[in-house]
Amino acid sequence: MHLLVVEDEQTLLQSILEYFAQEDFICEGVVNYASAVNKIEDSVYDCIVLDLNLPDGNGLRLLQYLRKLKKDDCVIIISARNSLKDKIAGLDLGADDYLTKPFHLSELNARIKALLRRRSQHTSDILIAGIFFIDLAARTATCDGQKLSLTKGEFDLLVYLVNNKNRVVSRQAIAEHIYGDQSDNIPSFDFVYSQIKNLKRKLKEKGHDDLIQSVYGLGYKLSL
């Protein structure tokens, strides 16, 4: 998988590149509009992570240019602006997703994977990882061929963990992924605890103990 990250903030760019290097992505990063134009003219990427505010141009213009070149690379916008108008403008110009800063890297990872899956024609709704076989359209999951009966929350949690497998996913990221960010209140982690507890119990029933580990209460890791 070939990934281009366009982000003018050097340190944030570094974090993203470091995170995705671990996902066996070939990652390239640029910090301005001009070098981004060079990159997209020269090569084809599976996915472009695009910041809208660049020092020498607007990310939306880059998106327009990309579509003019008849390239259909996946584009996910990361922006500090979170108004509906910006979102609609971005999506209208052919962006595939829109993520508002500050975001969790695990969330970005999950979104990119979802996009890439949608692009690949054969297995668009099927997620296979290790012993898991997950049908995203039918919302069913099997583990070692045995059907797991999961609630909506547990299913979303499992997909999220599978997308971020072999990584520690912070409980804040999980809470925000499932809870949304509409409310002023800091998400209650009770919910995350209980969902994890239930998921672990159901996996244990299928003979897979210790697939999910808690990391000092900071987060959880699904090892595959």
Partner: protein, 421 residues
């Protein structure tokens, strides 16, 4: 106590004008009496001369007594009346059968060695009638004057102050949040009002600019903070994935993560507040409140382990014309508050009617004045799980759509009611 400008003016006039007019009338009456007396005096003296001249001319052959005109009396010896003074007297008239008032003057004359006592009369009936008539006419004129002055004053004051009252009305309807300009006319035809309007226009323009800048500042500052927050968050995520993490470091990381999340949440809410203020949610649709409410409740029941027991009185088919995400924020904030600020084994009551939504929950009493509840960053000191912006957000959304939001605490129940429209 304050009274209206026109009333004040009128009261002043009504107190002083009648006093002045009554004083003037009295003065006029006194002057009239003095002048009348003087005139009678002159008349009596003239009559004395005429009568005496005629008496001498006719060599004493004219009548000595004419009733109401004169008496000539030949006297010998003692003069029994002091002459030279006008006196009041009365004469009995047979035909009218009554005494009529007269003024009389007596002089002593000497003719052919004889002493005469000459007495002349003028009627004082006519003159006192004249005085009364003139005085009545004067009173009528003064009263007319009084009413005219009051009426004219009222009319002209009203006309004069008309632009002022219009200005006041327009200023009362001014709302800084709408960022409107008043544009008061600078040419009213009255210099003072022109100056006033110019000053007000300037004042409002500069307030608008200051308000706009402040709103922009909040929005810009929040925007600018998003990127550093994103950096911290991403670095924290990388850190928790580092091998060899110790329990001690994990605890530190957890504190940093929590603080950073709170900061992000606060920043996001501030940005949202600024956006609502800047009217960046123009899209509206018809929202089925029942539907939305039950959806949110279902989610919340799922998310909270210890969900308070719920009593629902919801009438069906209630819809609002508003922005969906804002109404979602409004409802979820109110519901979340009712759950988070509840006590153990608490209860929540929800009542929805076409005109209002009332959400009540059991809980500890407030630690601060209820009036400040909807202000930004007001929260209980023991609750670090909220940003203190939730109700400010609720208030802002209500303000946007013209809803009224009230809070009440009674018998251990916190009640927030939103009155639509």
């Amino acid at each position: 106590m304050s009274i209206r400008l026109l009333q004040k003016n009128m009261r002043f006039l009504l107190t002083w004008l009648p006093l002045v007019l009554v004083g003037c009338s009295l003065f006029f009456y006194v002057m009239l009496r003095i002048q009348a007396h003087h005139m009678q005096d002159k008349q009596l003296q003239l009559k004395q001369r005429n009568v005496w001249d005629a008496f001498i001319k006719t060599s004493g052959s004219m009548p000595l007594h004419v009733v109401g005109e004169y008496d000539i009396e030949k006297i010998s010896g003692v003069r029994n009346i002091i002459p030279g003074d006008i006196r009041d007297t009365s004469i009995y008239y047979q035909d009218k059968k009554k005494q009529l008032p007269f003024e009389t003057l007596v002089t002593y004359r000497n003719w052919q060695g004889n002493n005469y006592n000459v007495r002349t009369y003028v009627s004082s009936t006519e003159i006192s009638h004249l005085i009364i008539k003139v005085f009545i006419a004067e009173t009528v004129i003064l009263l007319l004057l009084l009413f005219t002055i009051i009426f004219l004053n009222r009319y002209s004051a009203k006309r004069l102050w008309q632009p002022f009252f219009e200005t006041m009305q327009r200023m009362a309807s001014y709302d800084i949040a709408r960022n409107q300009s008043l544009n008061l006319p600078v040419e009213t035809g009255i210099t003072e009002f022109n100056t006033l309007h110019k000053e007000i226009n300037q004042l409002i323009d500069s307030s608008n600019i200051a308000y706009y800048n402040q709103k922009q500042f909040v929005e810009n500052a929040s925007h600018e903070m998003q990127t550093p927050l994103a950096i911290i968050r991403s670095k924290l995520e990388l850190l928790i994935n580092e091998p060899g993490l110790t329990a001690k470091n994990a605890a530190i990381l957890q504190d940093i993560t929590e603080a950073n999340d709170r900061l992000s949440q606060m920043n996001r809410t501030l940005l949202l507040l600024a956006k609502i203020e800047n009217n960046q949610f123009p899209e509206t649709e018809t929202i089925d409140i029942n539907d939305l409410l039950s959806q949110l409740l279902a989610n919340l029941q799922q998310y909270h382990e210890s969900f308070p027991s719920l009593e629902n009185t919801v009438s069906s088919d209630i819809s609002l014309q508003a922005n969906r995400s804002l109404i979602e924020i409004l409802l979820s904030n109110l519901l979340n508050n009712a759950i988070v600020h509840n006590r153990e084994n608490g209860r929540v009551r929800i009542m929805l009617t076409p005109s209002r939504l009332v959400i009540s929950n059991t809980g500890k009493d407030l630690q601060y004045a209820p009036e400040t509840l909807f202000e930004r960053f007001k929260k209980d000191s023991y609750s670090s799980k909220t940003t203190g912006l939730g109700l400010a957000l609720v208030k802002q959304i209500c303000l946007l759509y013209g809803y009224t939001v009230n809070y009440d605490y009674r018998d251990g129940w916190h009640t927030v009611s939103v009155i639509f429209g």
